[in-house]
């Protein structure tokens, strides 16, 4: 962003205000991701409940950001980098809100799962995947604050890893379900959890794209990385090797 101040200093305060909101929202969402993962792993219903309740604050911030950005557009008619700031805040707030929803959904399923027998090995894998998305979000938000398009580009690339982890888990859950139908309920929940995390990664990617847009004025040109088509294959023989 341009380091120079606006002649009308209230304009600077408005722009800083909406950006402070997005950073605050980002912080809440980061915490939600970490906590839902922890609640799942430690089978901690209180923490899961906390995440479910915490989503209201995230939704409230989205509403506040919508109002503030509409006001800035109406009153200040932002142009160039200022316009990009406002547009990126609007889009990023939607992405963050969706990530918050996924965290809430994970927390709900965590509540259900703790009434069932744990599936061996699943907790660690889900935790690693969540951790990766959480770190990606942290880096994307840091990149936003520092207007670091390079860091944002790295975040986008890292989504590949999350997709791979999801595909690996997908196969693993399928195997568990085939081995013992009593695992199906738990595995279905775990699968939705893994899918939620994978979708979080996509939203973080979209967020990182906004960082590139706000810093450079251009959206990244190449398509997002697509690594694996596992979920779209028919699994007559699910353990028959690595694609």
């Amino acid at each position: 962003m341009n380091e120079n101040q606006h002649i009308v200093s209230a304009y600077d305060r408005d722009l800083e205000g909406v950006q402070a909101l997005i950073v605050k929202m980002g912080g809440l969402v980061e915490t939600a991701i970490a906590d839902c993962s922890k609640a799942l792993e430690l089978r901690d219903e209180d923490l899961a409940q906390q995440v479910r309740a915490g989503d209201k604050a995230i939704d409230g911030l989205l509403e506040q950001i919508n109002e503030e950005t509409a006001r800035v557009i109406a009153l200040r008619a932002p142009t160039a980098s200022d316009l990009r700031v406002v547009l990126s805040v609007m889009k990023m707030s939607n992405n963050l809100e969706r990530i918050g929803d996924y965290a809430k959904n994970i927390a709900k399923r965590a509540g259900v799962l703790l009434q069932m027998t744990p599936i061996d090995g699943s907790a660690g894998a889900v935790r690693r995947m969540t951790r990766e998305v959480e770190l990606m979000l942290k880096d994307a938000l840091d990149a936003y604050i520092q207007r670091d398009a390079e860091l944002a580009a790295v975040v986008i690339q890292r989504d590949k890893e999350v997709d791979q982890m999801y595909n690996a888990l997908f196969r693993e859950f399928l195997t568990f379900m085939m081995e013992d139908p009593r695992n199906i309920t738990a595995c279905m929940h775990l699968h939705f959890i893994a899918k939620n995390i994978e979708r979080m990664g996509d939203h973080v990617t979209a967020l990182a794209e906004q960082v590139i847009y706000v810093s450079t004025g251009k959206l990244p040109e190449e398509d997002r990385p697509k690594a694996d088509s596992t979920p779209y294959e028919t699994h007559g023989d699910p353990v028959a090797g690595d694609n």
Binding site: N2, N4, Q5, V8, A80, K218
Partner: protein
């Protein structure tokens, strides 16, 4: 970035109407314009923006040799209208100004009737063979100035009796009456209220079908609203010239960015 889908803003063809090469303008010893190169396109609204004293009005006035009237003003370089240098000795500035019309900041109707305001140019340029011809030219110009319906019943009332916005549209009609090819507008709306401003902006958009319109404006929002091309001047330099959409969303030069976002540059 994808192509701008807003077709209305697309320039149909990049036919150059005015081409300026290495233009420098001096007022006595001080240099007001430094080596400006620009190609102004036909059937396009081009906006000149920039802070006060940046040279945008001076440059605009070069385009129909209005600076000739200022003794200490000296213009160097070349300005071509349809490939012909307008500063060539053989060019008659009066004929040139019939081709390159101008509308000023403050509406300045002649202290004559509405009819005579319009008829003045066509008369001195001998564009009408007879009274009926002239009547037709006057009506056409007033229609093109989007003011016909408001004045058709009082063509012989004084032009100075109209409201500010009507006077400005009368001046635009007067400028188009001589069938110009280029219309220069120096802050045409700065003395008008928002409604009259919108009417003039709508008119500018209609005029674009036939003329190259060059508008100097201090209102960046106006430049954004009416123009397809924008040129940003700063301290006598042409800093950046490009599609209006690009200038207002992603300017290349940091000085342009500072100016259009309202920062101290």
């Amino acid at each position: 970035m994808y192509d701008n889908p807003n077709l209305e803003r697309k320039v149909a063809q990049n036919e150059t109407k005015i081409s300026a090469r290495n233009v420098q303008v001096f007022y006595g010893d001080s240099q007001a314009i430094k080596d400006v190169n620009i190609e102004i396109e036909a059937r396009t609204v081009t906006a000149f923006i920039g802070p006060s004293g940046c040279g945008k009005s001076t440059f605009l006035r070069c385009l129909n040799r209005m600076n000739d009237t200022i003794d200490i003003c000296r213009v160097e370089g070349e300005i071509n209208l349809d490939g012909e240098n307008i500063y060539d000795k053989r060019v008659d500035p009066v004929q040139l100004r019939a081709k390159v019309g101008m509308v000023f900041q403050k509406p300045n109707p002649f202290p004559k009737s509405i009819y005579d305001n319009i008829a003045y140019g066509p008369r001195i340029h001998g564009l009408a063979k007879n009274k009926a011809d002239l009547d037709e030219i006057v009506e056409k110009a007033l229609r093109r100035g989007a003011i016909w319906n408001e004045v058709k019943d009082r063509l012989h009332a004084p032009g100075t009796g109209l409201s500010g916005g009507q006077q400005q549209r009368l001046c635009i009609a007067r400028a188009v009456a001589t069938e110009p090819e280029v219309l220069l507008m120096d802050e045409p709306c700065s003395a008008l209220d928002p409604i009259a401003t919108s009417q003039v902006e709508e008119l500018i958009d209609e005029l674009r079908e036939q003329y190259a319109v060059v508008i100097v404006t201090h209102s960046m929002q106006q430049a954004a609203r009416v123009s397809q091309k924008t040129a940003f001047f700063h301290l006598g330099n042409l800093v950046e010239y490009g599609d209006t959409g690009q200038i207002f969303t992603n300017p290349k030069d940091p000085r342009t960015e500072s100016y259009i976002t309202g920062r101290i540059g």
